[in-house]
């Protein structure tokens, strides 16, 4: 168990709901859910969610910390915003799903091999490096994220798509060396560093 996780378990011994309200993006909304189930019927990956949003909200209130945070359910969120426009209580469900995933990831207890977790991490590292996404490197690191053997297999499977993208100039091998970038990457990095500091300090405070 990570140190951050142990500290949070200690601090919120009695209420996982309070922990979520304090630390999860838009977490203060969870208590407003009236368990109607509309959101759960809205997810495009519906059958693949072990615990759909409505159930996650119930589990949070029931204090099922471990089960919620180690779940891969919220990682199934495609950001389709179906739930948000349908929820009778106007809960920002999409953001709560993102928030739960991010919180579990920061505490180091999110499922290690969850593919979207890995992809999201690669994506963030890719975009923050130069301020703009390098699609080629992102694609390659994605194919190889499960190791070399797997990567070669996925790359072969994706070969035709890659060739199509190259032919139509929608992919550029030159991105391997350099590629698109912001000019003021130093400024951008300073902003992100400061934002991270402020966010970490908030988590300490609660």
């Amino acid at each position: 168990m990570s140190d951050a996780n142990t500290a949070m378990v200690e601090k919120y011994r009695n209420s996982f709901l309070k922990e979520v309200e304090a630390n999860v993006e838009e977490g203060e909304w969870v208590k407003m859910c009236m368990q109607c189930g509309v959101c759960s019927g809205s997810c495009p990956f519906g059958p693949h969610w072990a615990h759909p949003p409505q159930e996650l909200f119930m589990m949070i209130r029931a204090g099922k910390r471990e089960e919620v945070l180690t779940s891969d359910s919220m990682w199934m969120c495609t950001s389709c915003y179906n739930c948000i426009v349908r929820c009778p209580r106007e809960l920002p469900i999409t953001h709560i799903m993102h928030g739960l995933a991010n919180y579990a990831h920061r505490l180091g207890i999110a499922p290690k091999n969850q593919p979207t977790r890995k992809f999201a991490k690669l994506f963030w590292e890719n975009l923050t490096k130069k301020g703009r996404t390098n699609e080629l490197k992102l694609g390659l690191s994605l194919y190889f994220m499960n190791g070399f053997g797997d990567g070669v297999k996925t790359s072969l499977k994706m070969k035709d798509i890659g060739l199509g993208m190259l032919k139509t100039k929608r992919m550029n091998v030159g991105e391997m060396w350099g590629g698109h970038a912001c000019k003021d990457t130093n400024g951008l990095h300073a902003i992100l560093k400061k934002a991270r500091e402020i966010e970490d300090a908030k988590m300490q405070k609660f």
């Binding site: 990956f45 590292e125 975009l127 996404t133 100039k169 400061k194």
Partner: protein
């Protein structure tokens, strides 16, 4: 009509050699015809799309969009920010609303921006290009520029998620928005009535990390277009465009289907109808060639 100017946020996928570079080409041709000037936000950065949350968290993510807004306020004061990508639009608009709703977030965001000597007021309106077309021009005006109506074509308007929810276009419903169909009609083609999967999710960014689950959704989207008698799909979103176009072969291999339907942008249709040639309309960016449009463009 006088020239219209906007502060333009093109986004990563529109860059040269990137996956939606053909989108930008067609948007530029369309804007040239409509006398729209797009003033690119200098040194803009990525918005983190809908997948940046896991590693980025809340404030760093908001700060990314806030930096773009701050740069826009400096360089293009008083102009609406216009994005062509659904995810760029959504992230920027969402950030703008959040900063307005919470003085704490506004303060924290500006503390972060100060690290690069920037400050944001977040008072520019953030719009998607289709809003500009519908609201600042209107269908009648857009129709007046048509030189080569797309006669005899039947097209499925695939709106998808993020240009439709949570914000959507004013006056449209979330379950059955009509603007794309109206644009198709305005360009002289026939829209598919009751396109069943019009607002169905394509998997978005998860098409990369969860290919099987996403391709099952994409299969339904393409199938419903064929069922509606469409020969082409049109969309306002670069993620939708890519997902629905490029995986058709893999879906065919998995499900034994015979999909081969071109997927274009509204701006592709408009550029061709406005008399631009194939290159100007970005048709050379189609992986599944839009032959009918090529023929019209070559006429």
């Amino acid at each position: 009509m006088a020239k219209k100017e906007y502060s333009f946020y093109p986004g990563c996928s529109s860059q040269k050699g990137a996956s939606a570079s053909n989108y930008l080409v067609s948007v530029q041709s369309m804007c040239e015809e409509l006398d729209v000037q797009l003033n690119e936000i200098p040194d803009w950065n990525c918005c983190a799309a809908s997948i940046g949350y896991a590693e980025g968290g809340e404030l760093p993510r908001l700060a990314l969009s806030a930096r773009n807004m701050a740069l826009s306020e400096q360089a293009n004061p008083g102009q609406d920010i216009v994005a062509t990508c659904a995810a760029c639009w959504l992230a920027t608009k969402e950030t703008q609303e959040r900063l307005h709703d919470s003085s704490d977030l506004m303060q924290e965001t500006n503390d972060a921006l100060a690290a690069a000597g920037l400050n944001v007021k977040a008072d520019q309106t953030v719009r998607h290009m289709v809003e500009v077309l519908i609201e600042d021009f209107g269908y009648d005006e857009l129709g007046k520029h048509v030189k080569k109506p797309l006669e005899g074509m039947k097209i499925a308007g695939y709106v998808g998620c993020q240009t439709n929810r949570p914000f959507g276009v004013d006056g449209e419903s979330f379950e059955n928005p009509k603007y794309l169909d109206k644009l198709v009609e305005t360009m002289g083609a026939e829209p598919v009535e009751d396109y069943q999967k019009k607002v169905q999710c394509c998997g978005g960014a998860l098409a990369f990390s969860e290919p099987e689950k996403s391709q099952a959704l994409i299969k339904d989207i393409v199938e419903a277009a064929y069922d509606g008698g469409a020969e082409m799909i049109v969309t306002p979103c670069p993620v939708c465009q890519m997902n629905v176009e490029v995986y058709q072969d893999q879906i065919n291999a998995t499900y034994g289907t015979k999909f081969k339907i071109p997927v274009v942008y509204y701006s592709t249709l408009m550029s061709v109808a406005y008399g631009k040639n194939g290159k100007e309309a970005g048709l050379d960016g189609q992986i599944i060639a839009a032959k009918k449009l090529e023929e019209i463009a070559a006429k």
